[in-house]
């Protein structure tokens, strides 16, 4: 093969790799990438598996638990883990396994709903602020910064104290705490992309400005946003449990993990470790799974990182 020939086939590959005029040399075939999805990473699999397990337990607890989680005296008080009571019983003789299963409804449910609300509201506001800038941006950003002046848990405690207990109130407070973070993140993401040529090109093919912002720019920010969502979920789960631990937000008898830890904390000193240990393990497992998932999501949502 003479030198001009080689040049020709390389040049031909660029334009018309599949036409018969371009000789299909092995180099050309290697250079053509094929679309394939990467196998899921291990952190992704573990995180997802654990969260699916938690969801399954939460759903199962609606129809079946070993004992009634709310009724005291199904066994003796302070019974250690045994065949009958796998995770032991608490001071009032309630079955801890049943209470943990029922608690998944509260902790997981509150977390998922609160995070979803914060994600949707924060991202919409952040995208608007980031894309349009100017006065809109200033108004939105300043309003939200007011809420950021308080530390999350303190703000939640104050509000719950003020508006009273209840699952709905906790959900609203937790999503309120999250909104500024989602707003700042999506605003920064959109701002960094709004003057990219592909945003201008999108405008030029006939998209309205909101379509450019929400259909072209926002999907490209999905990776960082979803990763943050998952990590934020871990935080929300912790704060929810903290509120329960502090005796705020829900009825003290509610089988919520944080309040279960609080109820069992005296036992830690006197040897009844299982009262607080197992609810703590449940919290740890859930937050850990959210972290793992968040880490893996950032890789998966970026098409350039698919191999």
């Amino acid at each position: 093969m003479s030198a001009p020939h080689i040049l020709e086939s390389v040049a031909g590959h660029d334009a018309t790799a599949d036409t018969p005029t371009a000789p299909p040399s092995p180099a050309v075939q290697v250079a053509v990438p094929t679309r394939r999805r990467a196998p899921l990473s291990w952190s992704m699999r573990i995180g997802l598996a654990v969260l699916v397990f938690y969801c399954a337990v939460a759903l199962l607890s609606l129809v079946w638990t070993p004992f009634d989680p709310l009724s005291p005296g199904v066994g003796e008080g302070y019974m250690p883990p045994s065949r009958e009571f796998l995770l032991g019983t608490d001071r009032l003789g309630s079955d801890i396994l049943s209470r943990i299963m029922a608690g998944a409804r509260y902790d997981l449910g509150i977390t998922l709903v609160a995070v979803t609300i914060a994600l949707v509201v924060g991202t919409i506001l952040g995208t608007i602020a980031g894309y349009y800038g100017g006065t809109v941006d200033i108004v939105i950003s300043r309003c939200v910064e007011v809420f950021q002046a308080f530390p999350g848990l303190l703000f939640a405690m104050l509000v719950v104290k003020a508006v009273g207990p209840g699952v709905l109130n906790i959900i609203l407070v937790m999503s309120f705490i999250g909104i500024p973070d989602y707003l700042r993140l999506s605003r920064a993401e959109i701002r960094s992309r709004r003057n990219w040529p592909y945003a201008e090109a999108a405008r030029m093919v006939g998209n309205r400005s909101w379509q450019v912002a929400f259909r072209h720019l926002l999907p490209n920010s999905a990776g960082p946003l979803l990763a943050f969502t998952s990590i934020n979920a871990a935080f929300v789960a912790l704060v929810t449990a903290s509120l329960g631990f502090l005796g705020l937000g829900l009825d003290p008898n509610t089988p919520e993990w944080g309040s279960m830890i609080a109820r069992g904390q005296d036992g830690v000193m006197t040897g009844e470790w299982w009262l607080s240990f197992f609810p703590g393990l449940a919290i740890l497992g859930m937050t850990g799974a959210f972290y793992l998932l968040g880490d893996a999501l950032s890789d998966l949502t970026d098409p350039r990182r698919r191999r």
Binding site: R35, W196, P197, Y198, E200, A201, M204, V205, G206, R304
Partner: protein, 347 residues
């Protein structure tokens, strides 16, 4: 070599300034008049900072002009609101400099090409599919590439997609913003040939922004040379390349290498660097850099003066409108010696 006398794009006294620190103005574009005729290629040439890209972006209202007027197909576009801009983009499209940055990384070629067809032409899905196939064929991509993402394409292929997107809604003006400068040299020629072929087939008018004189010589019918926000010379490409008149054009052309034996080039060198575009005085922008400078150059910014019928340049000194014609070489060397400039000036 004009395809038609119908003007598809005209700017009049186009001006764009930016406020900078201290309440001063950076003048990016200063009184630019261009007229692009149907089916022709007008190249705007200049170095970075000359304002050539700003002109292109003003025409698309990606940058809001500070003053002047822009007409597309006889209609002023200065007052178009955000919604009616869509109607402008049916007539004027753009091919971007960086094909990678101008394609949404999450959209396949098919999605990219369907968008203008759906939004501008309101086509049905089956029509769009047919048209998208025709488009990739026109730009020389195999149909299988419709399902690829930008990162699965080479630089040249990406630029082909960018070109297909630009011509999808059948505009009659396409702005080419250095369409080949980020491509490999081996691919450049193919993309230029493609652009020329499409122009002939679709009767497109090109506003070609470039700093690459070889490329401009290859594709342009007419050339406008920009320096510091203003056009210093304009005319048919052959005339400008054969008889560069303005000292800046001559310096620009003599700085480009010529691959030809035995051609002894007369070089004209400018002194120093490009001057500041912030609050420039009403004088020739080349004052302080020009080896042909006369006292009168600092008094008023010279207008474009006719060299011949179609060719004009903004230099009264060279064109003999001033007291002296082109001075001899001796005079020049004396001048540069007297100024003690960093770079000598020879003619």
């Amino acid at each position: 070599m004009r395809a038609s006398d119908y003007v598809v794009l005209r700017t009049q006294a186009l001006r764009k300034t930016y406020r900078v620190a201290g309440g001063r103005n950076l003048v990016a574009v200063d009184g630019v008049d261009i007229a692009l005729h149907a089916g022709e290629t007008l190249a705007i040439v200049g170095e970075s900072g000359s304002g050539k890209s700003t002109v292109a972006r003003c025409v698309l209202r990606l940058v809001e002009p500070t003053g002047g007027d822009i007409e597309v197909n006889g209609r002023s576009i200065m007052q178009l609101g955000s919604v009616s801009l869509a109607s402008l983009y049916r007539e004027v499209q753009m091919v971007f400099q960086d094909p990678t940055a101008s394609l949404n990384p999450r959209m396949t070629v098919r999605q990219v090409l369907h968008e203008p067809l759906r939004l501008h032409l309101a086509m049905e899905r089956s029509q769009r599919e047919k048209r998208a196939l025709a488009l990739v064929d026109m730009v020389g991509l195999p149909a299988a590439h419709l399902d690829r993402y930008p990162h699965e394409l080479s630089g040249g292929q990406r630029q082909r997609v960018g070109i297909a997107r630009a011509i999808a809604a059948e505009p009659n003006v396409v702005i080419l913003d250095e369409p080949t400068s980020s491509l490999d040299v081996s691919v450049r020629g193919q993309i230029l040939d493609l652009l020329l072929r499409l122009q002939a087939e679709l009767k497109l008018a090109y506003l070609f922004i470039s700093h690459d004189l070889q490329v401009v010589r290859h594709v342009a019918d007419r050339v406008a040379v920009m320096y510091l926000g203003g056009i210093v010379e304009t005319g048919p490409a052959e005339a400008v390349f054969a008889r560069p008149t303005h000292p800046y054009t001559r310096a620009l052309l003599s700085a480009a290498p010529v691959a030809q034996w035995g051609v002894k080039r007369v070089r004209l060198r400018l002194i120093g660097e490009i001057s500041s575009p912030i609050d420039p005085p009403d004088a020739c922008r080349l004052v302080g850099r020009c080896p042909l400078e006369q006292p009168s150059c600092s008094r008023k910014r010279p207008p474009l003066l006719a060299v011949d019928a179609e060719h004009s340049a903004a230099c009264p000194v060279v064109l003999g409108h001033e007291r002296e014609a082109i001075p001899g070489a001796e005079a020049l060397s004396r001048r540069s010696g007297g100024e003690g400039g960093a770079t000598g000036a020879r003619l």
